[in-house]
Symmetry: C2
Subunit: 332 residues, 2 copies
């Protein structure tokens, strides 16, 4: 929870030893990703109890906002170095985003995933032309660094990276362009790359707008950390309880510093509220959200009284839900 | 089927006694609807066998492209006259679109629907503030004209109207703005307002692009009419066989003249192909389409060999599918 200090566009804000991304970083990212990420619209949601728009990042090429940060990071690497390839450790949307960006630049990509990753995700990553490296759970990071050394390749972290944060921040630029008098922006939080970038952009362009984070109760480490003013680690087992499989990470010092500087508040949502939001988005907005992408809508539907009032944008971060899980939710 | 004569922007094309809408009509419509219709993006569909983008009109406020034509028509009425209200006969997306536009202007709307219209559709229209007038099937038009006379109100036809066609044509402007080198645009055809407007815009701005219509085999009157070079009426009973409930109308002389002037070809799709396209759009594009909206994707998935090659845009016209029908399709 912060005092919502506005960023100055030209001078980086320092929080201790950490440099926060600037509006210039984010506008530069917007130029790099133009034509490669979809310029998503704001979709009016007249069925809510407040003026609400959904920002459907589910419509990105890889089905999630991750393409923005991954593409910006790959595009920012020195071309001679980029030729030697990029590396990511992820079993989720970031893996596909890095694979997609690498193919766009015609460079090799190695994606390190645990050997128990569902076949469908492995196939999806391979379909983007990446080499999938299967390793034992818990060895992902070390395996990724080994490839980086062997190939002299470049690691593209999922969130703990200013280039990735700046790429995600382009969502904030688009929100302000489409709804200049927005009052409240809601984004999911997990590793924190998305909310860090979005909040940095919003606070630079419209300091009076509030930016709130939303996370599952069952992976509520960020809510606890913001309340205590320091990172409070939760166990992997605890965080893995939520169905929101994209929200099981926790912030790094870099993304936590952005949140302390720019995020005005946080609400948590229950598993049932997340499921109900997936169904509402399908029936009322004609959008398919993965559980992680539905948390912001869940916050509006079930916790509106805890949120500031006014014109609200809910970032729907992705749509990669398992077809069987989707069918079950829509059957109810 | 036509010789694809390009429209000249400043001089109306005459086909017999019929004036076709011009690029100027369509650009004027774009100015009127800006901020009221969603500026939909082109969503890349890398899962197709050709470079394909989906234009998701399902994201409009009423869940369908109809808001573009209805809003433009209501906005075009003389304000003093508009105050007295607008009238539409429709049980579908056009009804909600006219109701929505009327409320945006703060004027009354009467929507005439058959008394056997599903309650959910009646409620949705009422939710937009319109007065729903229930009449016997077959008396819709006469009842609508009776209200027009009684109230001195203005009828907003679903497709047989230059203002409505021009509004739908704004989709074509957006396609060219986002993909200037598009080779092929696919749009559903029924009454023909959508394809008429889209084709007029595309042929004016990029005559070398092809515009093809798609319709259900079971309501294939337009394919037969274009082949014969004259309107061939099909019975209501025949046209009502398709699950694509938005594609059960047939062209008017006005919309047929546009198709003869501007449409390069037409393909028909089966009911199973339509169902399969709804499922593919949900799983691969994270978009919920109603059957009528999925026909263009069905054409690409199942009849690609009959279509011109190259960069293709499929207009997904709407997303208002019955929740039970959707659940059944996604269960399969």
């Amino acid at each position: 929870m912060s005092s919502a200090t506005p960023a100055t566009p030209t001078r980086p804000v320092h929080t201790g030893a950490v440099n926060l991304v600037t509006l210039e970083d984010i506008t530069a990212a917007a130029e790099r990703i133009a034509g490669h990420a979809v310029r998503t619209p704001l979709v009016p949601a007249p069925w809510a109890d407040r003026p609400l728009w959904i920002k459907p990042e589910s419509l990105q090429p890889v089905g999630a906002f991750k393409i923005r940060g991954a593409y910006n990071a790959v595009a920012s690497v020195d071309p001679a170095r980029r030729e030697r390839g990029v590396v990511a450790y992820s079993s989720g949307n970031h893996a596909q985003a890095v694979a997609y960006a690498a193919r766009a630049f015609g460079v090799p990509a190695w994606i390190v995933v645990p050997e128990d990753t569902p076949r469908v995700k492995v196939d999806a990553t391979r379909a983007h032309g990446a080499e999938v490296v299967l390793v034992k759970t818990g060895e992902r990071e070390s395996a990724a660094y080994a490839i980086v050394e062997r190939e002299d390749a470049t690691l593209i972290p999922p969130f703990d990276d200013p280039r990735v944060i700046a790429g995600q921040g382009t969502i904030g630029l688009e929100i302000i362009a489409d709804l200049p008098d927005v009052d409240l922006v809601l984004a999911p939080v997990s590793g924190g790359g998305l909310i860090s970038g979005v909040a940095a952009a919003i606070k630079a362009l419209r300091p009076e707008a509030q930016v709130w984070a939303v996370e599952p109760e069952l992976a509520g480490d960020t809510a606890e950390s913001l309340a205590k003013g320091e990172l409070v680690p939760w166990s992997v087992a605890d965080r893995n309880r939520t169905i929101a499989d994209g929200l099981r990470s926790q912030p790094s010092p870099l993304t936590f510093a952005h949140q302390q500087a720019y995020v005005d508040g946080i609400v948590t949502v229950s598993e049932d509220e997340i499921r109900s939001a997936v169904t509402t988005l399908a029936h009322r907005a004609h959008l398919i959200a993965e559980p992680s992408g539905a948390v912001t809508t869940a916050a509006v539907l079930h916790h509106s009284d805890k949120l500031p009032t006014g014109k609200t944008v809910a970032v729907l971060s992705g749509g990669n839900i398992d077809p069987d899980a989707l069918a079950t939710l829509l059957q109810a």
